[in-house]
Symmetry: C2
Subunit: 543 residues, 2 copies
Amino acid sequence: MADPQSSPPPEGTGPSKNELKRQEKAKKAAEKAALKAAKDEEAAAQKAATEVDFAAQFYGPSPLHQSQTRTGEKRVQISSLSDLDGESVIFRARVQTSRAQGNKMVFLNLRQRTDSVQALVIVTPEKISKQMVKWSAGIADESIVLVHGVVKKTSTPINSTSVQDVEVHVSQLFLISGIDGRLPFSLEDASRPDSEETAAEADAEGRQFSRVLLETRLNNRVVDLRTPVNQAVFKLQAAIGDLFREFLSGRGFTEIHSPKLQGAATESGASVFKVSYFKGSAFLAQSPQLAKQMAIAADFERVYEIGPVFRAEDSNTHRHMTEFMGLDLEMTIEEHYHEVMELLDDLFLTMFRGLRGKFSQEIATVGKQFPAEEFTWREKEQGGTLKLTFREAIDLLVEDGVSREVLDDINTENEKRLGRIVKAKYQTDYFIIDKFPLALRPFYTMPDPEDPTLSNSYDFFMRGEEILSGAQRIHDPAFLMEKMRSKGVDPDSMKPYVDAFRMGCAPHGGGGIGLERVLMLFLKLNNIRRASLFPRDPKRLDP
Amino acid sequence: MADPQSSPPPEGTGPSKNELKRQEKAKKAAEKAALKAAKDEEAAAQKAATEVDFAAQFYGPSPLHQSQTRTGEKRVQISSLSDLDGESVIFRARVQTSRAQGNKMVFLNLRQRTDSVQALVIVTPEKISKQMVKWSAGIADESIVLVHGVVKKTSTPINSTSVQDVEVHVSQLFLISGIDGRLPFSLEDASRPDSEETAAEADAEGRQFSRVLLETRLNNRVVDLRTPVNQAVFKLQAAIGDLFREFLSGRGFTEIHSPKLQGAATESGASVFKVSYFKGSAFLAQSPQLAKQMAIAADFERVYEIGPVFRAEDSNTHRHMTEFMGLDLEMTIEEHYHEVMELLDDLFLTMFRGLRGKFSQEIATVGKQFPAEEFTWREKEQGGTLKLTFREAIDLLVEDGVSREVLDDINTENEKRLGRIVKAKYQTDYFIIDKFPLALRPFYTMPDPEDPTLSNSYDFFMRGEEILSGAQRIHDPAFLMEKMRSKGVDPDSMKPYVDAFRMGCAPHGGGGIGLERVLMLFLKLNNIRRASLFPRDPKRLDP
């Protein structure tokens, strides 16, 4: 049976203006007709209600699922239905939409994650009653149902579902979990393209497309996360973690788990959260920096950690959160800290290739809502990753018109500008800046061997935003203490850390990657909160 | 050249009493001789010091490693040396011990993680001076050195190192990182078997074996972690994580990262850490319970998380920490919560098999210090995992003599007793207890469909200690609120959580595993702190 919805789904490349107008008219006409039909049917329905319902046991709300029985009956996935033409199937699904056609037929759009299929409930003598059709039509969007039905090939492809060549003719339909109250927004609205052009275009046409604000989404994150785009975003988030681990496991790294509760406010006292700890206080780790270096002093040679890091910074920007996932690594070096920098570069190229290679469908899904130029990097045959020194980066900015006087550091604005300059000149969204001024780096950073104002440290950038910071670290305790004092840090406040180097430690370096930043910038999500399942910022601790 | 140490290393199955006595005598004699030789040599050495040292550029402390140069010279691993007979090699290593023989030769035991090799510095005309030998003999244990040398086959196997068929004849030796102060304990002492029998035996012999207390180890964790046993323990810890992820990835689970900072003190208010959060307060998550259930309501279907969990319990026991790693999972269920319980059982069997299969060497290493009966479980052909109901477990305890009156719950002592009963009766260290009384479980636990005093919940046990707790959860918001109120929890205090179920949620269940507990019990480490890199308890926040 053909698709009952005259309009294509809002996901997709989007219809033209004229088509949208036509669809809008058609929709209104259909609604008017439906209203009239509904009135006509009311009397009939009232009559029907008094009749005995022969289908009563085939539909309705299920009793609360408490694992009453276990028949072992097979449940199928919507994604497999195309292969099951003619077969009787049972499956659990969410009702994306339901739409009655007259009082004898209901079209359901049923969803499992990003897969969807059309189902029909049609009045059939001795099988499906009018009452059952009516009840089916009344199921609220986003309810969860258990469906029994038969799979049938369709004559024409269905545009509004991911499974397009078959539909399900329902024989039994039970409500597993309903909706209590109103949905905060429809998934249709939540899936509209997030571009200003679209908004402007819609306004010009005088149409009212509801668009869902980020704040509203985050307040109702559980519903928001159900959109195809968010399902894809978090599949990609998991993929980045997998690629990170896979790369490092293959290179002799051991995964570690370091404590987030710390005895002292370390690294930088200003931005650390304080915890009530029995009769005293503890502090939340701002990174696994100290622990991972201590693991090197403990002979682990190469370690990585994936874990939360906490920053008590009152920064309410598109790229700051108070809690985010750190992908951290640390390794001994033989001759030169570029051994680490190059391994990190390899790691990123492997992640980029892995995402592009295995998740092109998810990237395309996200691109429909967040249009972006495809993320670019330079492979070996294109000269490899661009590596600038800090001085070279400054020169590029000065050439572009920025005053050298303000360039002691590169602020966020100039970072973005540099990203644009580099993109235009070198055709890459990904590059490295090496040799940062020592004054800009933490006390544990190893100074350059020749110029004491510089350091053996680097940042990595994606689309003009920093996503990794790393360096060679100081492994000599006396030199470390000297540098701590020069930065106003009391070595006694970090005694266990300093002591680790007293017992002999190999030269080492590493880096820390912000998982959500990589995800945000690879996909150009424009706000880091979209890359976090339940984001935390100075104003948000819920949900 | 033969092994200079007459005694075998302290690691290993351990020598007999008589042999130990003989070794002790031999050692004392050798020390006496060495003392005399040292005196004799002093004058000679003083003379030598005034001579020109032709080897001056071949040894000594390196300048601080600041990545001065990058020659690309190949560095090798100690583990590969057996294949490099006759070749010149360069490698970085830790000096486990150094031992002079007269003033012309020094034996070094060099280590990389768990690999070790013997190296010799021998006076050689125009190549190795007396001064170089003397300096080499004075290198402190646990220093890190850069070694240049030639690999040579030995005539007899060397017992004191892991590489036994070759040794390294040193041509150049540089100190990369020395020891500042005294080692808190020797790795030899830290590697002695941790059994009361050994201690008693040592006392009976009147010998003084230094044994290192856990407290001392943890205070100096960086040195403690260098022992072969600890290197193995944390390789196994990483392996458990890998096996967990691999199993779940293959079954359609998505990794998630949920926030540890929470807006409300949830689950159970008593044992939650409070955090100063800008002008207000936050709380540290006691588990990802709420977030992972919300991910199910958000259609993720199957999720897992590996992350820290925080418990503000003032429990100073062998098995409690204030921060530990949770291996959590949650999944939708079709017909019955046993779908989850059986998947978790499969997961554990897969982990046990994976550890036994791929890490037998590491398990054996740990067993030398922590002797234990090998961990046992029942494979399918032995009837599969033992699954008892709570009632059956109680009956077993009553049969064994425990008074039924005290068995409303099973306390720690009776848990252990049950473990012993089960081991004797069913020959397994691993079993499941299902159908716990509802009163013993959290408010979100689904009651049994027939007996409202019971619940659809289970615990998993290893060697008589709980390592997993899980259940079917309540997915109906009205029923959930009713249960919250009955347990004294205000539903409004957890509004975002309750709201998630208002928007439709599939029936689901899951469980949470304590990583360190699994590691501790599989290896029988006897104290959970040994299974944590840097453990945290009510009295320990450092290192």
